[in-house]
Symmetry: C2
Subunit: 456 residues, 2 copies
């Protein structure tokens, strides 16, 4: 059973229909086969619990999630394969034909990307015929949770960098080669200055940044000739990596290059100490304008320590820790049925209180413009503050143009500036006030009293 | 700067050339501009350090890594965009034209997928003209590290499951919607029985598995009618999720379905206690043939505890913990220049001893066939044991058909059965013997003595 060519896992973007858990497809078929495909469902996406080490989240990933959702479809080949699967063998072929014609035709409301959000509040609401609303569960969670994790982690790094530019450097450490796109975008939203990911930079219009690898230096007879060759080719774009052999020797060689190079990068060792010594060497050589960039397994704690130390580091490259959101690589983002044909729905669970019915979230600010608390209401109620969920998709089409990446990034900046001081520190306790309207509490009580027969 | 349609991040698989760190492209241009593109380079990929909680690794991801590498190319659009980037503005347009024509034309040697491997040994070796060998660095690491992490974690779960079938359930918790493909495949290689990822199952020929979500149950007037409807549509393929409202009530309702259903799934609560009570209820109802499947934030530790308890769980669904490799979401896999035009190369670094020159790895087994130790040699040496690196690509083409997924899985099973007993436990200490040939030690000493001028 060997084969050629190798199986590619970059699937056709026009056939993302089955890029999901099988049970979503099974349930879709089940709803179609049970005459329930006309039922109008409302599902809501939210985060159950704050991830480790976070006191706030930055919502990201919506543009790609929505773009893919509007193109969700099955190829003929996919439908034919499904007919042969054990669970679909007994199904009326007309039902799989219907699946093959399905598109997402519903409505989506969502919090805009770049918004600071908290567990327990609705971030996105889907209103669609039941099979369509079910279809998008896995896809939406997979598309939104990861960018939100990365943007939330990136915001923490930004918060301690004292305005120094940060570069996203993680491409090779992402979970597969596709991940770098999402990480580059999420980091940029949260305030990073650029990414090393060349194609993400091109597609998304993010500044691309890059220096050299140690292999460049090793490919020349000596470090001096490696530096000279690079500077000859790239001139004013040359950032030289100085730690291939002996870091301070490397700094001396970099300082000798004419005309002066714009920056050096140190990727290993004691970054505080080495940057101080490097600064002194550069200054002695009349290279006050040459900046020092630091990288090497950095996270927000290490960046904070370097910045607090007063070390002369002018910018940071952040890789592994950010792209894997290493201290919190997963999040309890869920997508739950809350309403069916106008009737509230929810899952009883002792440890997981949830609320039925379509919802809106209102955010109040204090006199200084800082976030004072969020209030969750039924979608048909109104309350004080700014409504956070806005229409994004109506009847399977974009409700309006999506914001551009710079607009999202600007929104995120304002949002982060509006955080209460007590939530800003790296060790902040997540205690943001979130309340539910009396109508929602009453809906929840009423359904709970009915036990496991919500409609009886 | 708002826009429509949304930017898609499923890039054209024919234009993966810049799906990499910018510095790889910068260095390629630099080598071309410096007249070094004819130099013959050897790079090697290896893992520096064993990740947390692991005593061995399962190498995976090679088929997709190689398949993509053979198609690496730039689109005209990409090259035109690069001409406008600051670092390339001063570059001779003919050099970017040359980049636009570049393909990978080198050789690749690699350890077969499904092989048990250890830090410090060469897993893959690229021999190619310098710019091409440099090009593939980010791509290869991003393509191999993650599947290896997942396969290695999956092998741990398999090792404690006592032969019970395991299903990969993580699609929504992967780092973006692309990741599920890689995870489903890696888990299957390591011995999982199937995946919930419908498209991964179809593309790769893995058994697809699925039950229902709580939303199915919530979409019906009561749990009994939800179960009956599902069983009516799916018959002998029906696994019923019993914990939407009250788990044991759910089990009683599932047990009442005629004809008997094949399985139930419990997704929350005390799985040991609930599975025992569920088993008793099922047996009392003459449902001895109905199996019990457990899921809900399971990892190898929890599976081990359930199995050790003797709880009547017949299979497990494993999601978040596996797809994020949560306890070890990253690994120090690196790709280093070891030889240039036949001369050894390596980076001096106090804490990171590496060896120059193209290498081979020989594995010795003891009398029982168990792995006794690996010995790393120069590629031109021979040694006792089985040579682990085999030719995969020659001159930019597959050296031969790649093994099929079942063959890889069978190889992995044999490999895991050949592990020394002391490396098998969940708390095993990573102490597998790895030695380097005297010729390699001598090469390393010789280069180190030359300090930072390896060729002087």
């Amino acid at each position: 059973m060997s084969h050629e060519p190798p199986v590619s896992l970059w699937p056709d973007p026009q056939a993302l229909g089955p890029v999901t858990d099988l049970y979503e497809l099974t349930m879709m078929v089940g709803y179609l086969a049970s005459g329930m495909s006309g039922k109008s469902a409302t599902f809501e996406l939210f985060v159950r619990k704050m991830p480790t080490n976070r006191a706030y989240l930055v919502f990201a990933g919506l543009e790609q999630a929505i773009g893919d959702l509007l193109r969700l479809a099955f190829s003929t080949e996919q439908i034919e394969a499904m007919r042969r699967w054990p669970m679909f063998r007994g199904i009326d072929p007309a039902i799989l034909d219907e699946l093959g014609r399905m598109r997402f035709e519903g409505d989506v409301w969502a919090v805009p990307e770049g918004t600071v959000v908290f567990p327990g509040e609705t971030l996105l609401r889907v209103e669609a015929p039941l099979p369509q609303a079910q279809w998008v569960e896995t896809y939406l969670v997979a598309s939104l949770a990861y960018p939100t994790l990365v943007a939330s982690k990136a915001a923490r790094v930004v918060s301690v960098a004292g305005g120094r530019p940060l570069q996203e450097f993680g491409a090779r450490r992402g979970h597969g080669p596709h991940t770098g796109f999402l990480a580059a975008r999420a980091a940029y939203i949260a305030g990073f200055a650029g990414t090393s990911h060349a194609e993400a930079a091109r597609l998304l219009g993010i500044p691309a940044t890059g220096t050299m690898a140690h292999s460049w230096v090793q490919s020349f007879p000596d470090e001096g000739s490696a530096f000279a060759a690079f500077a000859r080719v790239f001139g004013a774009s040359s950032t030289l990596l100085v730690d291939t052999y002996d870091t301070l020797e490397g700094v001396r060689r970099a300082a000798a290059i004419e005309p002066p190079i714009p920056a050096i990068r140190i990727d290993s060792g004691d970054l505080v100490e080495l940057s101080r010594q490097a600064r002194a060497i550069l200054d002695q050589h009349g290279r006050a304008g040459t900046k020092i960039m630091a990288s090497g397994d950095l996270d927000e704690q290490k960046v904070a320590r370097i910045v607090e130390s007063g070390a002369p580091v002018d910018g940071f490259g952040i890789g592994t820790e950010l792209i894997t959101s290493r201290d919190a690589p997963a999040m309890s983002m869920v997508y739950k049925l809350v309403e069916l044909d106008g009737q509230g729905r929810y899952k009883l669970s002792p440890s997981k209180k949830t609320y039925p019915m379509a919802k809106q979230v209102y955010r109040r600010r204090d006199a200084r413009g800082r976030f004072a608390g969020d209030h969750v209401t039924r979608a048909d109620e109104s309350a004080e503050g700014e409504p956070m969920l806005v229409p994004v998709v109506r009847g399977g089409r974009l409700a309006g143009p999506l914001p551009g990446l710079e607009e999202i990034r600007a929104r995120c900046r304002e949002q982060l500036e509006s955080l209460p001081d007590r939530l800003r520190g790296l060790d902040a306790v997540p205690d943001y006030p979130l309340t539910y309207s009396e109508a929602l509490e009453e809906d929840a009580r009423r359904l709970m009293a009915r036990g496991d027969h919500p409609e009886n």
